[in-house]
């Protein structure tokens, strides 16, 4: 079974790589298979780990214990709320009554906003601002002093670049140009890391082909 799986994986890897030469039916097959299998797998996984154990099983188990659907429904009445909201969400596919799906969406937006506003301030804004408030002179450590000044200039310059209420001339223009330099360095770092990531993924697939499929490396 493992051997068969390895051969299928090797074939699909080569099928996807074949796109680098040119678009072809083998590549299309592998691409469509990936999308289909992923979607199918996700549906089954969510059904098996969530919908059935958390929504259906409580009703069934209570019914098996009490031999009464009435007791089962009354004991787990609260589960009807998420179940109804979930079903209503699916009504988006029917244009005439799709407006009903806004109810669960508004519920989700409300929860999301409530959670996110406090969390963003508490976990993102304050700690990041606090981390920027560093001493510009650290006695005995030239490197830390240099780093802190660099951080300060970078933050102020970048903020100046994104300040659009005044024309970028004079002092503000100079500051925003410094900001551009820092932004370019950040883009360069991101690009470098992206190259690294893509090469790593290629290494992973080539290592699989050589080690697990062809057994030419260990």
């Amino acid at each position: 079974m493992t051997l068969l799986g390895t051969w299928i994986a090797a074939f699909l890897t080569l099928a996807i790589f074949s796109f680098l030469y040119k678009d072809n039916p083998v590549y299309k097959f592998a691409e469509h298979l990936y999308v289909g299998v992923s979607a199918g797998y996700m549906v089954i996984y969510v059904w098996a780990t969530d919908v059935r154990p958390l929504l259906l099983d409580p009703f069934v188990q209570t019914h098996l214990q009490t031999r009464s659907w009435a007791i089962s429904f009354s004991q787990h009445a609260s589960l009807f709320i998420p179940a109804t909201l979930g079903v209503v969400m699916l009504l988006r596919t029917f244009p005439k009554i799709s407006w009903v799906s806004r109810w669960p969406i508004s519920f989700l937006v409300g929860i999301g906003a409530g959670l996110a506003i406090t969390a963003d301030v508490q976990g993102y804004l304050f700690p990041q601002v606090q981390a920027t408030l560093v001493p510009l002179w650290v006695g005995g450590s030239v490197l830390t002093t240099f780093n802190n000044i660099l951080l300060f200039v970078g933050v102020v310059g970048t903020l100046a670049y994104f300040y659009f209420s005044r024309e970028h001339k004079g002092f503000l223009g100079g500051l925003s140009r410094i900001g551009v330099l820092f932004i370019m360095v950040a883009f360069g770092a991101s690009f470098g890391y992206t190259v690294m990531a893509r090469i790593s993924l290629l290494i992973g697939r080539i290592h699989f082909l050589f080690a697990d499929w062809l057994h030419v490396v260990h």
Binding site: Y21, Y45, D50, A119, P127, T194, V195, L202, I203, H207
Partner: protein
């Protein structure tokens, strides 16, 4: 046709072939290279190393097969280290397609290190609702996961006795391929004060550094290079270390292409002028 004109019209498939050859050769030749340990990876290692035996750590699988070559080596390295230190591991995840990949890794390392399910490690599985799940785990794990991924009640699992919320967990290690790690930081680190370290794909590493600088993360393992460093620290070479010569060769070729591209650009601009 001048070499410059030829360079401008080069079929990009030659470039793909060049990259494939340059990456394949070091793997085929079995080349090895040493890696320097960077502070973010060393801090992650030390955060795990300092924990007393029996401490519970949580590992979150927030990636799937598409970034497995980067994330899986770091997961294996962290699990090996944690089991070596006799720590208890709770595995869970927010990516339904990723959890089977994480489960594979956990089962592999547990087998290697003779660890027992339910005593040394537990796999909680997946629940949808990322932020809501994270916040609820802070109150009571059983509210979100009444049972593990095999549908065994948590109360009947020996390792979970006395483990109820983040107060009972000493460290979270997130293995990440998307923005889920930011959810962990803003919803859990800030609110509950749980110590956390992240293993991220290289693409995400630059944005994760700001959390390291602010002290919200104790450590960061960035990409395959980070995984190689961790493998080096635990003295257990894996695909991370094996891939480093290929990684360096690939980078050198890309740098060469960038230099050639720039030379071509400036020469053609001068010619037009």
């Amino acid at each position: 046709m001048s070499w410059l004109a030829k360079l401008e019209k080069i079929d990009r498939r030659w470039i793909f072939l060049g990259v494939a050859l340059v990456v394949s050769a070091p793997l085929l030749l079995g080349l090895h290279s040493k890696v320097d340990i960077t502070p973010p990876v060393k801090n992650t290692y030390e955060a795990i190393d300092r924990l007393p035996p029996g401490s519970v750590i949580m590992v979150s699988i927030d990636y799937d097969a598409s970034t497995m070559p980067e994330n899986q080596p770091m997961l294996l390295a962290v699990l090996r280290h944690a089991f070596q230190k006799n720590l208890k591991i709770i595995l869970m995840g927010h990516w339904p397609l990723g959890l089977p990949v994480g489960t594979l890794g956990l089962d592999q390392v547990a087998r290697e290190m003779h660890k027992t399910y339910g005593t040394d490690y537990v796999n909680l599985g997946f629940r949808p609702g990322t932020a809501a799940v994270m916040v609820n785990l802070g109150t009571e794990i059983r509210n979100v996961f009444p049972s593990d991924y095999r549908r065994v009640l948590l109360d009947s699992i020996p390792m979970m006795r006395g483990v109820h919320n983040y107060n009972d967990i000493r460290l979270l290690v997130g293995i990440e391929a998307g923005d889920t790690y930011e959810f962990w930081i803003i919803y859990v680190q800030a609110r509950f004060g749980l110590k956390m370290a992240m293993g991220t794909t290289a693409v995400m590493a630059p944005t994760a550094y700001k959390y390291l600088q602010s002290g919200q993360l104790v450590g960061l393992i960035g990409g395959l290079k980070g995984a190689a460093e961790y493998e080096s620290l635990i003295a257990h070479p894996g695909i991370g270390l094996a891939g480093m010569p290929a990684q360096s060769a690939g980078h050198l070729l890309i740098i060469l292409f960038i230099i050639l591209g720039n030379i071509g650009y400036f020469l053609s601009r001068r010619k037009k002028a």
